[in-house]
Amino acid sequence: MNRVQRRRFAQATAFALLAFATFLILAIMVGIISFVASQGIGAISWEFLTAFPRSGMTEGGIFPAIVGTFYLAMGTTLISLPLGVFAAIYLVEYSYQGRLIRLIRIGINNLAGVPSIVFGLFGLALFVRHLGLGVSLLSGSLTLAFFVLPLVIRASEEALLAVPQGFREGALALGATKWQSVYTVVLPTAVPAILTGGILALGIAAGQTAPIIFTAAAFFTPRLPDSIFSPIMALPFHIYVMASESAHFAVTRHLQFGTALVLLAIVFGINITAIIIRSQMRKRRRW
């Protein structure tokens, strides 16, 4: 082989390996999804989705866990979305580069890196114990809201940055104040992209377990939560206790697979919605 051939051979081998690695990742993903789907589909029935657990959690459905996860995700988004959007407005529209901004950014980046179980400890210490909110939907939503806050801020920032500078200048030239230009021009333009961030927050909140173990989750509740101070059942926590802590873990495998399938379907549904909205927006953008 001469030098050129050797180089070509090296390149072809390297590219094949890289492609192999990428498709291996995709294969693992397909494997995970099809495994859960094939094992879990048998458990899915109308009763499974709409009934309470029965016979010491070995039969029946997961209705309260689905409702609990829904409430928790909504609560988290209701708290984190406004806070995150306002924070992003300050960072994008009002701030100029400086030490203070750099400090705030370091804060956001570091908050994003705090382990989920540490958020659980924080929620337990502050919301559950010191503020006396108890193990409740509210404590869990607050804990998760701070957990997803950095992500919501980043998504909102991107949404605001995507609004062309000319829009703001146009508004200012018409005599609008800063806030008027933000409120009447920038925000309406950025709303769909901001919503994508909110949807992603929903998806993350729905899938988290560690932050809610000490702050919101209950092994079993005989009723649906009737106030924000009730403890709740949640799908991820339900999978964990059924698979790892329950004495009947072996006989309830099919229920665990069913629950995992429902959770995956919810999380994927949410994420795919966000991806579709985003790509639609990119297509429709006319500036």
Partner: protein, 305 residues
Amino acid sequence: MTNKQTSLFRRKLHERTIKYFFFACAATSIVVLFFIAIFLFHEGVGVFRVVEITDFLSGRRWAPARVQPILGILPMLLGSLFVTVGAMIVAVPLGLSAAVYIAEIAPPKIKNPIKSAIELLAGIPSVVYGFIGLVFLVPWLQETFNLPTGFTALTGSLLLGVMAVPIIASISEDAIYAVPRDFREASYALGATKWQTITRAVLPASISGISAAIILGGMSRVIGETMTVLMVTGNAPIIPDSICSFLRPVRTMTASVALEMGEAAKGGIHYSALFAIGLVLFTITFLLNLIADFILHRYKEAQKR
């Protein structure tokens, strides 16, 4: 003041109030971060009345439920380290390969679908990974390696490695994408092949972004990951001391907290010790994040020049 002046004054006041309100929201993150540190310290400091901080970190035995509790977290510190190193060995080559493939090689038509798919992979909840590990990987490893148990450090590393791939891939891809076109064109002009261009021009230029991706997306996430390791590593507080320990159960810091908080009396020594573990975790991830932030910031400064 005339009417016009009053309204102008009001408008200014209004504007300023709004600005301060937004500032307060932006400052929330740093306030929360501060509160997390304070509360971990406040709840965890009690343990250091019973045990010296150096003994806490280097103690080889963990028996918190005894009348005279023995509180050494070295088994868990090393457990976390072991599982993390193992996960990085899985995740870095895979994640980096995917990043290079997507950024430089993939045909435009399949580029976006692959990116979306990897993004979806990142969305799989950790409890689902743990569950799949439990029902599939644990029995499989036990049979394949003929082990007494399939709940091992390796099981945790494999799962966490797969979980870290999407994050490492997407941050690294951004870093590779940010390398200016000129770098590639200059390299081609010198007669380099595409592969030579990637390894000798593109990757060296994006090395800071990639190392930040490995620190942030990889190590920091993996050390803090709870549910997956809790469900598949067996949770035995044994000190891992050799490469063979990968085939034995380990317990990580995160798993200890999740596992024992339910049985620890609120406000007691055990409770306080678990918060102290939280404080150790917080400190480790905080330092990793600062390092990554520093690398990225210097990289951006260097690019401006």
